[in-house]
Amino acid sequence: MTFLSDTEAIGRDLPRRDGAAKVLGSATYAFETPLDGAVHLHPVQSTIARGRVTELDTTAAEALDGVLAVLTPGTAERLASTDDRELAALQDEEVGFRGQIVAAVIADSSEVARHAAALVRVGYEQAAHETELRADRDDLYTPESVNPDFPSDTAEGDVDAAMAAAEVTVDETYTTAMYHNNPMEPHATTALWDPDGDGFLTLWDSTQGVHPTRTTIASVFGLDEDRVRVVCPYVGGGFGSKGQPHVHVVLAALAARALPGRPVRLALTRQQMFSLAGHRTPTIQRCRLGADKAGTITALAVDVVERTSRIKEFAEQTGLPARTMYASPNRRTTHRLAALDVPVPSWMRAPGECPGMFGPEVVMDELAERLGMDPIELRIRNEPDVEPGSGKPFSSRNLVGCLREGASRFGWSERDPRPGVRRRGDWLVGTGVASSTYPVNRMAQSTATIRLEGDCYVTEIGAADLGTGTWTTLPQIAADALGVPVSRVEVRIGDTDLPMASVAGGSSGTTTWGSAVVEAARAFRARYGTEPPDGAEATGSVGDPDQKYAKHAYGAQFVEAHVNVDTGEVRVPRLLGVFAAGRIINPRTARSQFIGGMTMGLSMALHEDSVLDPRTGHVVNHDLAEYHITANADVDVVEAHWLTEHDPHVNAMGSKGIGEIGIVGTAAAVSNAVWHACGVRVRDLPVTLDKLLPALE
């Protein structure tokens, strides 16, 4: 694919095309799809973490006015496929985690459905459950691969021998907490089963991918894909949790098929989202570095222990970034899993890189401390020439540029490296840095169609905009590929009636869909030239990636942290990130992605922590009052900058995905800044005051 060198629309600061509709409230979300005669669905969840349901008394629920049906394993239809046990709603009496759906009520109103659900009496035969992740568990196992298909373990050279021979070593264990994605819009589905003919299922679903959702749901119900339509023009955030359909989508479809012709609405409550919509596993990361006195790394190891659910494996690729980030002749990464009685973990913004750049980027700071070396210089010293492991050349790698540019903007050169020596009023002040990275991913399949309708080039692809900017950026790409003003391009996305698009995941959307749009535009011009007839139409597909290069985006995160001398409270008044992520399609939506990711990283550093009570097996702080997400008052100055980066190898646009890199490394930079402020290394997230108080006494 040739590089798009002449750009007019790409790179322009265009406002979001969907912005006005969202602000005015006229953008319709899945739950509020206007349909006549809609009914409401409310799940009943298990109150044990393992065992089986022995009794389901629905009498009181069914007696309520307005209740239309109660779905149970006894009444729900048999699904065609139960291979994915997360999605096997109401197929048997087994309970695999607390909060699992064991029944569901359909009623005239959401209030009646919810009340009736509370009246369903459930009896259990309870089995002992286990939820606690520990590195010393004797049931840890090595998964066949880690998400999505990377080897679980890698080894080069001899880490142990290199550690033993190294002049300076660090060997520490770091942990990240369990996290929940918590998009603002809850997981919601409106489902309608039209019984005419062979029947037709329509799902208005809040999803990061209409086509992947259709494929999954069609398979679960044994329907041909052409008998299922999934529609989703707008998504109120997903952060990975809407990347794959969770069980509520199956439940909504089950309910719709039980009540043919009636639209069924389901929106999970915030509390239900903590057990039914995925989460990020907690991780335990033993990180080891060996180096010579000049700071050249000779040994690098990351051994990860994390959790999955007993009913379905998800192996977060936490060790992945350490495989390619820095040069080292001796390197080892491993993943071990404990399969426990917990809800099914899944994708959350930068799975792998996000937790996997916490331990490795704090241990770099610790090594710099022991070496008496500037942490930026240490990173630069260990810059690899080619991608470690594969030996491939980088399509572009500007980590050093990001570190240097960030240092200059942040004022790093004036930094006194000593910890705990700066005080401003009642606050100890420190600064920290960490690197950031994210791969350039491209999905195998996506197709776009471009058609001239009057004066307008209509670009159709079933892509998703989860706040990422797709509504705005795809027209920019199409306009430049066609050589027309962006005002003449209209896009249509978010519907399986449009050409097939891949999931908005792995920061792959713009690369994948944009490439398909460029191919369609080129096919269009090749066939019709510059004077196409009305109705002219052409199609293009994403095409294969260039396999000769290692392709990653890089960044550097700088943090100023304040620690209160009396209380240990931590506040972060300044975050600054510099990224090298290829050509930026739209600076406005890009900035939003970067600062959103950085803020979410700050949230991970200081606040987020799903507290899973091992006695009950559920997350007890399951609402937004108790599960703290960074709020406006926690964020003062957040700056995102980017380098001009020309990379003709990634795709025709020269762009790299930017949806996830912002969250990568932020938490390490915060922990490093807190150490610099008060001298305490916090290796276990979140960085809360109780971990700092003993040192302040």
Partner: protein, 333 residues
């Protein structure tokens, strides 16, 4: 949510008669806590009686520097009132440190002290809770105790009262005016809330049907030098790990008098009488403040639990009290 009836009587007296006559009736003020509980099934009343607009919504000067705050005054209005800011800054600061602007616009003076604990187990009907269902057990003991008590807890309940406003009111010797079926009575604010003991289901000494109509703040010049310090994990919109409401009167480097109450550490706003006693006549110094804190915290008992329990609250509270008093003394000089 269980269906319920809603009534809106003509006046406060009629509301009291209505609720007193029905053991399953509750008052609805700003709704910032009760509405959540209705949805969660934590509260399942048969009858909800709206009272906000039946209650006085004025702040009245009683002369000599005393104020009467109508129960219908919103938290926002109370925090912004010029007399409150001048005479009782601790109260204004406490209010502004609580919840969010939107919630403060809805929450009322009468309702705020009656909000219930945010103990996660209390708010989750799938876990045993003696406060919600007497005799069912306490899930917080041995559970997630970061936001639980270190003072005055029992083996039945270790929950804390969540209000910030109430901590300031306790420090200020406020008086609560209550209307009941048999007429009006006045309860010292520090006696309004109770410790859990064997009956944690009872947050306050109010009898069923009693309605707070106003809160009086007696004149006290000491309160003009007062402050509220709330320590929390997030800079806004988070409940206190610990909080301190304090007023200090220092003359020639010696503490003449002090008013202190703690939040986030007990089933009630914790008036720190022992600390106040220890401070009177002492030098205005960090060592005096720490000694006062130690006097009050002598009986403190941390709640062991997940993620290290809450033992950190003892040094945290000592340090927060010390810092708050130090700042006030500095201001006083």
């Amino acid at each position: 949510m269980k269906p319920f009836d809603y009534r809106h009587p003509a006046d406060a007296a009629a509301a009291v008669r209505t609720v007193a006559a029905d053991p399953d009736a509750v008052y609805l003020g700003g709704g910032t806590n009760l509405v959540d509980h209705l949805k969660l099934g934590v509260a399942e009343p048969d009858l909800v009686v709206g009272v906000t607009d039946l209650l006085p919504a004025e702040i009245e000067e009683l002369g000599g520097g005393a104020l009467r705050i109508g129960a219908g005054v919103s938290n926002s209005e109370l925090a912004a009132h010029p007399r409150v800011r001048e005479w009782f800054p601790v109260l204004s600061q406490a209010l502004l440190s609580g919840a969010s602007g939107q919630l403060r616009n809805m929450a009322t003076t009468g309702g705020n002290p009656l909000q219930r604990t945010r103990c996660v187990y209390f708010q989750d009907v799938t876990t045993p809770c003696n406060k919600r269902t007497p005799g069912s057990g306490c899930s917080a003991i041995g559970g997630w105790t970061r936001y639980h008590a270190i003072l005055g807890a029992s083996d039945q309940c270790i929950a804390v009262h969540p209000s910030d406003m109430a901590v300031a009111m306790a420090a200020l010797d406020a008086q609560v005016r209550v209307l009941g079926p048999d007429g009006e009575r006045i309860i010292p604010f520090t006696d309004l809330h109770r410790l859990p003991g064997d009956t944690p289901e009872r947050d306050t000494v109010l009898e069923h049907g009693e309605l707070i109509t106003a809160i009086d703040l007696p004149a006290q010049t000491i309160a003009r030098r007062s402050a509220y310090r709330k320590v929390r994990d997030r800079a806004s919109y988070a409940f206190a790990l610990v909080s301190v409401a304090a007023a200090l009167d220092v003359k020639d480097g010696v503490i003449a008098d002090a008013r202190i109450a703690f939040g986030g550490v007990a089933h009630k706003p914790w008036r720190a009488h022992r600390a106040e006693e220890a401070l009177r006549g002492a030098a205005a110094s960090d060592s005096s403040y720490r000694a006062a804190a130690d006097a009050e915290l002598a009986d403190a008992r941390p709640a062991e639990g997940l993620e290290g329990g809450n033992a950190f609250k003892i040094p945290l509270l000592r340090r927060t009290l010390t810092a708050t008093l130090r700042d006030l003394a500095r201001e006083d000089a």
